[in-house]
């Protein structure tokens, strides 16, 4: 305990010393200013541009705009509903998968992780296949021909899409609660329910709150599922897109997007600075490995049934997507065919673009994140706090907002980048920077300062230490950071819709187009291909990173 606190202090003092040394370091200064400049241009500028695009009057007259009012209240309703259900489902799911002895745990966990690697609309799209006008279940099973599009379908889809974030975050909290605490409570005479109510639940509460805020952020920002499933249920994000797509109404779009920013920022700040501070430090010595007692039988069976239902639903949805790719006409003619793959082949360019753009953006984000993290963490860059804030800021900005910002700043005549793939790549880069940055920070934080001192003591100078100690030790974290940025890039739609142009089409956008044209089978084929390619790349990266596996979107606060 004591040596730990001394170590922390020594980090602080070291940084004091480094601040002094810093002024003698033109390299640090130059690199720091360059990173700061990039962040200003590619993060701050687009955000400010969106906010200041409408006039003050426009903001004042918002409440008279009935479409805006409707979109806003719809959005909040959807956030509230989906957050509650996702968190509850996530909690129950976490209760199951946090126990090493739960039957089928590996499978259930996989089913929760899978949606995080797929484009955000995969669930919405497959839901359409299952429950849509020609859905297997609605039409095939029950002969209905009703449209299921609308708010409650969206609610179901959002719950299924977002509960994994809650489940994985809460799982970690439950799994790290020392079993000895529960054992002690039982020892003092508590039954299962009493222990759960007085120990397990209170200890998990910060994690649950954090998970809820995280889910709320995602539901608020989500664009793809409402577009596919929402039907005539306008939300802020989708309305912003319709304004631009249908009407070329940039002012209306920016107003709608700007409305998203305050709640998104509040949720983000809440998650990052409020809840994450409240997680309990576990007081404990060593050797508290103790098996948790089994769940009461009835509970175990109920949980199993529940998880089976949820996982079964997800599995069937994915199965639907894959099956669609081999079907002649979904819901009408079930003849197996490979025809859809010819269509997919014509979209091969788009899939390739997706992979290349996302990989490049991942590389940019990783390099930038590593440099920024190193400056902030190790070199006590004087404006470190500003740099830190700028690096995490994009996480508070919904994709739609970011996309419009880039559209306004970089895709206009006179800007050399306008209309190029680079705009899209840069948007991916900077929107994903917070994830990569946090991974890099966590990686650096695990390097004990004595490591660098030991290398210096043995005769290694600055760049040698940077190379031998810091870069070598955070390499796995870098691979993880890249993977995250890559997956987020490949699966992105909310930014892409605003920035794709002519030659830089990406797969998610063309899938959306195919769904819009009601060519669901072809959309299935392209989605399947994209999913397969993504998972392959991720698997390769995981092998490469030697164990530092990060699941997109599920980060510690």
């Amino acid at each position: 305990m004591q040596s730990e606190s001394l170590t922390q202090r020594s980090v602080v003092a070291h940084s004091e010393w480094r601040v002094r040394a810093w002024f003698r370091e033109p390299v640090t200064l130059t690199v720091g200013l360059a990173v700061g400049g990039l962040l200003t241009v590619f993060v701050l500028l687009p955000i400010l541009q969106v906010i200041t695009y409408p006039s003050i009057q426009d903001y004042f007259h918002l409440s008279e705009n009935s479409r805006w009012v409707r979109a806003t209240s719809n959005t909040f309703r959807m956030v509230l509903l989906s957050t509650c259900t996702s968190t509850v489902v996530g909690f129950l799911y976490a209760m199951a998968i946090s126990r090493p002895d739960f039957p089928g745990r590996g499978f259930f966990r996989l089913m929760a992780v899978l949606p995080l690697f797929s484009p955000p609309f995969t669930i919405g799209f497959s839901y359409l296949l299952m429950f849509g006008r020609f859905g297997v279940i609605t039409h095939g099973l029950f002969g209905l021909e009703a449209s299921i599009l609308g708010w409650w379908s969206l609610w179901v889809v959002q719950t299924l899409s977002n509960f994994p974030y809650a489940a994985l975050a809460i799982e970690r909290a439950l799994a790290t609660t020392p079993p000895t605490l529960e054992a002690a409570a039982r020892d003092l005479g508590g039954g299962w329910l009493a222990v759960f109510r007085t120990i397990t639940l209170p200890l998990a509460r910060p994690a649950v709150a954090g998970a809820a805020l995280l889910v709320a952020t995602y539901v608020l920002a989500d664009f793809a599922n409402p577009l596919i499933i929402g039907g005539d249920f306008p939300l802020l994000a989708t309305e912003a897109w319709y304004r631009i797509d249908g009407w070329g109404d940039l002012r209306g779009a920016t107003l709608l997007a700007a409305t998203l920013l305050p709640p998104a920022t509040l949720l983000f700040i809440g998650e990052r600075y409020w809840v994450s501070r409240r997680t309990y430090a576990v007081i404990g010595g060593r050797g508290s490995s103790l098996d948790r007692p089994p769940l009461p039988g009835l509970l175990q069976w109920s949980l199993l049934a529940f998880c089976g239902l949820v996982a079964g639903l997800i599995l069937s949805l994915y199965f639907g997507v894959v099956a669609g790719a081999f079907t002649r006409t979904w819901g009408v003619d079930w003849t197996p065919t490979l025809n859809q793959w010819y269509v997919a082949l014509t979209k091969a360019d788009h899939i390739r673009n997706s992979l290349v753009f996302a990989a490049t953006a991942g590389l940019f984000a990783t390099v930038l994140a590593t440099v920024a993290a190193y400056l902030v963490d190790q070199r006590a860059f004087p404006a470190g706090r500003v740099l830190d804030a700028l690096c995490v800021l994009p996480a508070a900005v919904p994709g739609v907002f970011f996309g419009i910002g880039y559209l306004l700043v970089f895709n206009r005549p006179g800007v050399p980048l306008a209309g190029t793939a680079l705009v899209l790549i840069l948007a991916f880069t900077f929107h994903n920077l917070p994830f990569s940055y946090q991974i890099a920070r966590a990686g650096l934080a695990q390097i004990h300062p004595n490591m660098a001192d030991a290398a210096a003591d043995l005769g290694a100078f600055r760049f040698r230490i940077l190379w031998d100690v810091h870069l070598r030790l955070i390499f796995p974290a870098c691979v993880a950071a890249w993977t995250t940025a890559f997956v987020n890039g490949v699966t992105n739609l909310s930014i892409a819709v605003f920035l794709v142009a002519g030659g830089n089409q990406v797969a998610t956008f063309s899938i959306l187009g195919l769904i819009g044209d009601n060519r669901l089978e072809a959309a299935s084929a392209v989605t399947t291909a994209l999913l397969a390619a993504t998972l392959l790349v991720v698997a390769a990266a995981w092998r490469f990173s030697r164990g530092a596996r990060v699941i997109p979107g599920v980060l510690s606060g």
Binding site: A13, H14, E16, D453, A454, A455, D457, D468
Partner: protein, 356 residues
């Protein structure tokens, strides 16, 4: 006394308001183990890090072999440190860890291999060259850290509590090994510990530190038997303290008035009549017996702890409780038992009385 090999002159280092090292002057002799001993937080690590060069001193000078080094970064100093947590590079093999400093010094590859092999063999690690340090036991990790530091053949070896991460049994064994290694290489070594037993057993010289300052420097015997002040007396070894007043200074001895009655010590010149001072009684300056005799004091055993070779009694004499060691003879006295205490005045030590 050997000539100073490392000289510290008026070294001072502040962290904010805390003076971690305050005006430290110390001469470290060549080829010996000099120990910095003091309670946790007294500035030992800071002093060691100043010598290694991880940060510059606020004031003062450091000389190694007569050359000032305090402005040099660690890379340019001929010191090598073993960290308390070893700080082995987890991504390098044992061999590469040991080779690291040689490679940084641009030693030719065959020479690196030869010297690392030699060093690993010297420390009994020849079978572990290819292993990751993460897969070694604590004792082995400690030796890898030592090998890594020794491989660069530093002028001064710095050891920061190198034994504190080992379990008790291993610690005494490694301590002896360390001493033997140091002696066979004749390496000038600065050893940091908060464990007085460790310090006394391993050191040629001990510098006792408190709150950033050095209170006393001397051989282990000196600091144990002739502590300069109450802090040193208390920190090094077990101590009973008695307040006393000088009644008379004669050619036969000093007559002291104490709660245990009047005591006469061998002649000392530095005290004056009426002076207040503190008497230090080590447990071995006291003896217990079952019969009264001349100069014995009636006492009562309050409790006894069995230490293996000896027993330590807490003995009540009047209002005082004293610790008395007695070599274990196989019989046990009962607590509460009446007993007689003899003070060996030749082994009693006088300390200036610090203002309370």
């Amino acid at each position: 006394m050997d000539k100073a090999y490392v000289e510290l002159a008026h070294l001072t280092k502040h962290f904010g308001d805390v003076a971690a090292v305050a005006d430290v002057c110390l001469d470290v002799p060549e080829g010996r183990i000099t120990t910095l001993l003091g309670p946790s937080g007294c500035g030992k690590t800071t002093l060691l890090r100043l010598i290694a060069g991880f940060f510059p001193p606020d004031a003062g000078e450091i000389r190694i072999k007569g050359v000032r080094v305090d402005h040099l970064p660690p890379q340019r100093r001929s010191t090598a440190i073993v960290f308390q947590d070893y700080a082995l590079f987890p991504h390098l093999t044992v061999f590469e860890n040991v080779a690291y400093g040689l490679r940084r010094r641009r030693v030719a590859a065959p020479e690196v291999t030869r010297r690392v092999r030699e060093m690993l063999a010297f420390l009994g690690l020849e079978d572990h060259g290819g292993a990751s340090p993460l897969h070694l036991s604590g004792g082995q990790q400690q030796r890898v850290a030592l090998a890594r530091a020794l491989a660069v053949e530093p002028d001064v070896l710095l050891l920061d509590e190198p034994l504190s991460n080992l379990d008790a049994k291993l610690r005494t064994r490694v301590r002896t090994e360390l001493k033997e290694i140091q002696q066979s290489l004749g390496k000038t070594t600065i050893f940091v510990t908060h464990d007085q037993e460790e310090a006394l057993s391993i050191s040629d010289r001990v510098a006792v530190m408190d709150a950033g300052r050095i209170r006393q420097v001397g051989s282990p015997v000196e600091v144990y038997a002739h502590p300069l002040d109450r802090f040193v007396a208390d920190f090094v070894g077990i101590a009973n303290f008695l307040p006393a007043t000088v009644r008379a200074v004669t050619s036969e001895g000093v007559v002291l008035e104490s709660p245990l009655g009047t005591l006469m010590t061998p002649p000392r010149s530095e005290f004056t009549e009426g002076e207040r001072l503190t008497i230090l009684l080590r447990p071995e300056a006291l003896r217990l017996s079952f019969e009264s005799g001349t100069g014995t004091l009636p006492a009562r055993i309050r409790s006894t702890s069995f230490l293996g070779g000896t027993r330590r009694h807490h003995v009540q004499v009047g209002q005082l409780t004293l610790m008395v060691d007695e070599s274990f003879s196989g019989t046990a006295e009962d607590a509460g038992r009446q007993i007689w205490l003899t003070i060996d005045v030749a082994r009693l030590h006088l300390l200036p009385s610090e203002p309370a």
